[in-house]
């Protein structure tokens, strides 16, 4: 199966701090890839370097066979992105934000259909800032899906949501996966990662300390639960290095 996202030897420093250090990974078509790690481990920097919003110091990135900096226009017709803190004008309404987003693409999806599909079509005339947390996240998924993307990047999509809303988002993501969309996500919820991700990578101080499936992570650790395994990987640096 072809690699939809392919990253080789990515490095990025801010001054003396190595935010991402020689990181390579790839995601195959239709798979969900989870990027894990504590805050500051380099997840967002990785996503930004992959998308080209940050310039990597070194490394090669390709998405759908294209370089995100050189083929920006062409590539982002087919890529949906949701950044960690999403970004909308103070007094903009749901419908307006969707329409403006749709106008950026050559063949956008029908916004109303998407809003309907995600159960927020009655909110089109509501200000985005007045939506509840769960409604907002669903809107951000809608925005990421407007280009009818082949790949979506979701940075901490469910942070700040209550358990119910989080489950709803999982269902949505599972459906996207079933539709054949490739997903790269970051998350702090291990249950979410277990449910959704085909492959994961755990980052620590910009370096991958584990790369594989959830069950492999559990097997490589002395624990039975994934959450414990995750904590073990992120805490025990010395032991990890021996394993890798």
């Amino acid at each position: 199966m072809e690699d939809v996202i392919k990253v080789e030897h990515l490095s990025k420093s801010y001054g003396n701090l190595k935010a991402v250090d020689d990181f390579s990974f790839s995601v195959k078509r239709g798979k969900v890839f989870g990027l894990l790690g504590a805050n500051g481990a380099g997840k967002s920097t990785t996503i930004e370097c992959v998308l080209g919003t940050q310039k990597a110091d070194s490394g090669v990135v390709s998405i759908l066979g294209m370089n995100p900096t050189i083929h920006r226009r062409e590539l982002f017709e087919q890529v949906g992105v949701q950044f960690q803190e999403t970004n909308y004008q103070e007094n903009i309404k749901v419908g307006e934000l969707c329409e403006v987003t749709a106008s950026l693409y050559r063949n956008p999806e029908d916004c109303n259909k998407l809003l309907k599909r995600f159960g927020i079509s009655d909110k089109a005339n509501v200000l985005v800032k007045e939506l509840s947390g769960g409604e907002k996240q669903r809107l951000f998924i809608v925005l990421a899906l407007i280009p009818s993307p082949k790949v979506v990047f979701l940075d901490e999509l469910t942070t700040g949501l209550d358990a119910r809303a989080r489950r709803d988002v999982w269902q949505i993501l599972a459906k996207l996966k079933a539709d054949g969309i490739t997903i790269l996500l970051t998350s702090h919820f291990m249950e979410e990662v277990e449910t959704l991700c085909d492959e994961i990578c755990i980052l620590k101080k910009g370096k991958p300390v584990f790369y594989g499936t959830v069950s492999e992570a559990v097997n490589q650790s002395p624990h039975n639960k994934f959450e414990d395994a995750y904590l073990w990987f992120t805490d025990e640096e010395v032991v990890n290095n021996e394993i890798l």
Binding site: F83, E90, N91, E99, S103, Y105
Partner: protein, 247 residues
């Protein structure tokens, strides 16, 4: 082009929803015009002057909207959209974030144009205003003042660290200029010493060009202001382009 139109339509709605530019750029100049008109009526600007007080004030009044949009509206919206990461979001779409900056420039241009048209209409209908000089010269001067003020705004918005800094710098630029450059308070009523102080404000120079065009005074006399405004436009644009922070 389709994206530009759609974004323009939405941003215009958002701007009007905010009301502040409507007040500062369109309503305020009219209020000042009416107040000056009520106080000075159609009287000559001074004894023996070949033009009325209102004619002399028109250029200044027409620059209020340019000043409000250029050094208040633009820096605030640019820094706000950067700190909200709206500019960054555009970077992961097929459309360049420059598009939304062009949209904002268009919006403030439209405010300035609306203000110019309404000022002209009110001055003409209620105070018998007539443009003595060439309308073409006036429009060219008006555009030069706009490019110059907008480039200041784009520079401030583009390089200010955050919205708070942009707001402070915008206030430092806007309030002295709107009060002391002759846009509202007539330049000619100021004592000579004060005039030479306020001459350092870019808008004071810009208004001299507009005044000269309105009153059909010899344009050679405003050669220096024209050079100053052009230089400001060039320098600030270059600084804005070179040092613009997208996030």
């Amino acid at each position: 082009m389709r994206s530009y139109k759609k974004i323009l339509k939405t941003e215009l709605k958002l701007s009007l929803r905010g009301m502040d530019m409507l007040i500062f750029a369109v309503i305020m100049p009219i209020v000042v015009l009416v107040v000056l008109g009520i106080i000075y009526g159609n009287r000559p600007a001074f004894e023996g002057a070949g033009y009325t007080f209102i004619q002399r004030s028109f250029g200044g009044l027409a620059s209020i909207a340019i000043c409000a949009g250029g050094v208040m509206g633009l820096p605030l919206v640019v820094s706000d959209y950067r700190s909200k990461r709206i500019l960054k979001r555009f970077k992961v779409t097929p459309i360049s974030p420059v598009t939304i900056l062009l949209v904002e420039v268009t919006i403030y241009f439209l405010y300035a144009l609306t203000s110019l048209v309404t000022l002209f209409a009110v001055a003409r209908i209620f105070f018998g205003f007539k443009m003595q000089g060439s309308i073409l010269q006036f429009i060219l001067g008006w555009l030069l003042v706009m490019v110059s003020m907008f480039s200041i705004g784009m520079m401030v918005g583009g390089i200010a660290k955050n919205s708070k800094d942009a707001g402070i710098i915008a206030s430092i630029l806007y309030f002295p200029m709107v009060i002391f450059s002759g846009a509202t308070l007539p330049y000619e009523v100021m004592p000579t010493t004060m005039q030479s102080v306020v001459d350092i404000l870019p808008l004071t120079q810009g208004i001299k060009i507009l005044k000269s065009a309105t009153l059909n005074l010899p344009m050679e006399r405003v050669l220096l202001p024209i050079i100053v405004m052009t230089a400001i436009a060039v320098i600030c644009s270059l600084v804005a382009i070179k040092f613009f922070k997208w996030e």
